[in-house]
């Protein structure tokens, strides 16, 4: 028996459902439930028998976790494996779990660095360049910069994953994404430099020396704080804020 391949509509439905990957995130199974929900359109195509499909969906609600955007690649790859499983009976449930685990951890390592450590701060910096000058367009810049990459990868990832299967990261894709992260980090460093200059001399008029000194203090404090995970930047900022309230007190 030959199992029908996924149609474009199925893959698009999977990509759309991947937006809800973390809707029921929990400590026990993390993205497990969202993963099964996103994979359901593929299983509906491969397993017409309801009881078998429900059993397979239940199997997929087990532990899974990765970076939510790049999860699309794993979704496509596992859909390809599910097609093979429906056709030949291989891989079995244990094999499938192993593939999911490897894909999940590899994509998390790449995705966390790509999205949380680089693209999100970069988009924020590009938005801040405008917002510091008083333009609300900075918010739009932040949103568009991030989503151009985030939504494209979420959508295309399912298609790539399905086409290439579990080998999706062993080809040219991974080095390309690594190079992209490197380029974004360089642009990010330049953006922070530009923001500092914009704060020091907005419109070419230097700020008062006191402002420049306090900004430099903040930068120094931030670099020291960045060497440790705890206290968090917010806890540092709260402490610094209270200190400013005390210093500004003049009865």
């Amino acid at each position: 028996m030959t199992v029908p391949a996924l149609r474009k509509g199925d893959l698009l439905r999977m990509a759309a459902r991947a937006s809800l990957l973390q809707a029921t995130w929990n400590y026990e199974r993390q993205q497990g439930l969202g993963w099964a929900f996103a994979l359901a359109p593929a299983l509906r195509r491969f397993l017409p028998e309801r009881a078998e499909r429900c059993e397979r969906l239940a199997e997929h609600t087990s532990y899974f976790n990765t970076q939510p955007t790049l999860a699309s690649l794993a979704l496509g790859a596992v859909a390809a494996l599910e097609q093979q499983r429906a056709d030949t009976g291989q891989p079995d449930a244990d094999g499938m779990r192993r593939v999911k685990h490897v894909l999940g951890s590899t994509l998390a390592a790449l995705g966390d660095r790509m999205f949380w450590l680089t693209l999100r701060p970069l988009a924020a910096c590009l938005g801040l360049i405008l917002a510091i000058g008083g333009s609300p367009a900075g918010a739009a810049v932040l949103w568009v910069c991030y989503n151009a990459m985030h939504q494209s990868l979420r959508l295309a990832g399912v298609f790539w994953g399905y086409r290439l299967g579990p080998k999706v990261l062993s080809g040219e894709l991974r080095p390309r994404l690594e190079r992209l992260v490197h380029a974004w980090a360089i642009i990010g460093a330049a953006a922070v430099g530009s923001i500092v200059a914009l704060l020091l001399v907005p419109g070419g008029t230097p700020r008062p020396l006191a402002f420049q000194l306090v900004l430099a203090c903040g930068l120094g404090l931030g670099l020291v704080a960045a060497q440790r995970v705890r206290p968090s930047p917010t806890e540092w900022a709260l402490g610094a804020g209270v200190l400013c309230l005390i210093l500004a007190w003049h009865p």
Partner: protein
Amino acid sequence: MIPEVLGTVLLGGVGALDATPVGQTLLSQPLVTAALLGALWHDMPVALAVGVVLQILAASTLPVGARTPEDYAVGGVVGTGLALLLASQVSFTIARDGCALLGVFAGMIAATSGVPLLKWQRRQHEGLSRWCEDELRAGNEAALGQCQAAGVGLAFGVGVSYSAACLGLGTLLLMGLARTESVWLSRAWTLAQPLWIGLGLAQLLHAFVQRRLLRVGVFAAALFLTWLLLMSGAS
């Protein structure tokens, strides 16, 4: 003022959805919500003053792995919303600076205090996912969609309720302070704003540079060139 407050509270719910359960499009980032709230309250300067500081701090807060980071989705809405609400009740410019300061404080406190609520939601989902697996094994395929809808509904409800509670409490506690201590708060804002911005920017720089000399050079070159460009443009 009631439509503005209602809009702010609803945006808190939307932010809570966008941050983790639905989409992760960064609509929940403080700068984006601040611009939306600035348009809603017709006061962009105060909204952006608060939004910029909270955005810099939020960008250096990372949701890596299973760590529950500070909830800047709701924190951003509460901080900016409260600053706008207080600023709408005062008339002097100096008092508006004080409102911005109180807004940033409220945003940071709301973001930090929101973490136990996020953890509580995640624990609720554990029971939901066990129920879902049982239902699936019993042949109820619709259980998966029902669980997802419940997760989304819970996040929205918690976001709206928490934003409303923080705004209410913040107004109650801080309105008097904003009206009577505007000089003190304004002086504190002139100190705290650059300190907070510097602190957050350093965290971002650290994330980008990763101890690579080339990137330090790029940062320094960009700083110098932008400074030169601004100075030569002004002269």
